[in-house]
Symmetry: C2
């Protein structure tokens, strides 16, 4: 892949990615990202009647799997002689870009929604990036990015349309498949959260040649992928509030959509209550602090596993762990006993 120096619009010819890019990304990232553990939990398995293989990317550098794609993209830009980076995101891509760019000595501007969680803003500033706030919708952030790009001449690292980002994100699923295989297990399914679509697209590429199918889980409040599947192309949806701050993009990326649309992907929409329940279950049953986006994937997996004929081994991309302490406190205080009960499967 050549260095990718700006966000692609839907009208640009989309790069054609394959499993080969994931393999190359894995090689390049080896030793630079955490090979996060795959966690098993008797107590979560008992909830859904399947064996869940939890890819703990909440333990990744920067607190989420987004560091994988960010580092790959930044390395390409640094090699191409970039003199600065701009990124917009609801949080994790921004943290990841800030940390990766700082390692390569690239000045960084981060465009965030005005309601971004304070802990994410702090992490970005700790990595010496400059933060710019722009509205609460994707379109507002994208407009701010364009303005800053013209002003500064920095390179934009798009969280969804950049092929390095998508390939990097896919390495999490590639690792998960390999880690399960090392225990003689062939995963039937990998469940991933859907925001802008980079996790979904990366996973679709990673499972090529493998029997696992990809299931995407998105908040009922922001059904951007469901709407895109219906329309046959990315469309902007009317988003309602969701605790899954990482999954707020109200439109799926063109590159991720093109990859997911040619794969056999299933999509599940998850209620806010199910996301909250899954976050509590991850914390109290698997002892992992995950953010609501990751809990969305877990909620999807619990729901999916309870259906008939769903296979026995289900991978779950626990995408990140960057969550506000106050949200966790509120969810725990709400009810300490309201972890999901085992269902008949």
């Amino acid at each position: 892949m050549p260095a990718h120096r700006s966000g692609l619009s839907a009208s640009t010819a989309l790069p054609r990615l394959s499993r080969a890019e994931i393999d190359r990304a894995e090689l390049q990232l080896s030793g630079k990202v955490v090979r996060t553990p795959v966690i098993r939990s008797d107590q979560l398995d008992a909830l859904c009647g399947a064996r869940l293989w939890l890819k703990a990317e909440n333990l990744q550098r920067g607190g989420s799997f987004k560091f994988r794609g960010a580092l790959l993209a930044i390395e390409a830009l640094a090699a191409a002689g970039s003199h600065g980076v701009i990124a917009q995101s609801t949080g994790n891509h921004a943290i990841a870009i800030a940390i990766a760019a700082h390692e390569y000595g690239l000045p960084t501007l981060i465009v965030l929604p005005s309601d971004a969680p304070p802990s994410k803003v702090r992490r970005i500033r700790e990595a010496c990036a400059q933060v710019v706030f722009a509205g609460t919708m994707l379109a507002e952030r994208v407009a701010a990015v364009e303005e800053l790009r013209e002003l500064r001449g920095y390179d934009v690292v798009d969280p969804y349309e950049n092929p390095h980002v998508v390939a990097g994100q896919g390495t999490a699923t590639a690792e998960l498949l390999a880690q399960a295989a090392a225990e003689d297990v062939c995963l039937d399914t990998v469940v991933v959260p859907i925001g802008g679509g980079s996790a979904l697209a990366g996973s679709c590429l990673a499972v090529a040649g493998h029997r696992a199918t990809v299931v995407g889980a998105e908040p009922e409040a922001v059904p951007a992928f469901t709407a895109a599947l219906q329309a046959g192309e990315p469309v902007t949806v009317g988003a309602r509030p969701t605790i899954a701050d990482g999954l707020r993009p109200d439109r799926i990326g063109a590159l991720p959509f093109s990859i997911a649309a040619r794969s056999a992907v299933q999509v599940l929409t998850v209620t806010e209550e199910a996301i909250a329940d899954a976050l509590r279950a991850a914390l109290l049953r698997a002892r992992l602090l995950v953010e609501p986006a990751a809990a969305t994937a877990l909620a999807g997996a619990l729901e999916y596993a309870a259906g008939p004929g769903r296979g026995t081994d289900i991978g779950v991309l626990l995408s990140g762990g960057n969550v506000e302490p106050s949200l966790v406190a509120a969810l725990l205080a709400e009810t300490s006993d309201n972890v999901p009960r085992p269902r008949a499967s």
Copy 2:
């Protein structure tokens, strides 16, 4: 080791354990206990200026490292034809014994303090064990155990004096050393929490022939090991309240003390505030839910690492993750920003 069918009193000749028992225990437990991951956290490392290697036994079966010793002891009893088991503990040993005994079809009586955390009581009952409450002090539980033993003729699995238990607990540290070595790291120190002493003793055995030294961390509120070191033998201390419910035994076991006393062990006492801070730090910085006993070890490691000449690679036994949701909620609500700040090292 022969099957060990009852608690040893201090006057009984103590079994002489060595690293060989740890090696045998590791072999026997292989595939039956979780080889828990060793977690690194940039954010915790930044706090103390050392590299921490966190042995995540909060991800162990039963939620704590105690499952290791419990399973080893139960397998010995089952092989010896036991027809039932009694155990007393402040929680984790009890959960571990209940689960292990249930797997071997042995009826189980568990003696708990009357203030045992509800979540631990629930877990024990879920494993089909019968729960008996007896006061809040170790001596009261021990008396209840003796009474029940005479009444039922069951075998007692003591949490501190049973050599299988001590050897089993030691496998956690043995694994940690091996996992660090697999990354070409030779740990300088392993920090473990001190309650009744089985973790401490097991770790002392496990580091034999290795350059790592063992540092024990105990709550300032229950300085049972510090007092025993001063007295030259186990003594009962006046215990004050501590959030570290797993470290409430007010007297160190005779077997653990005999092992620790002939090793070069350092001991640190940790304040309640430091335990709370460390629990928050583990959760928010390393994204691991640990119980206060494990947080005591982490607090000890953070304090130890900040001292001069303390080496660069410090292992920490995160002993368990069985914590009341309400306690976590309270600690998070107390202050979301009061995670420890980096100190000069």
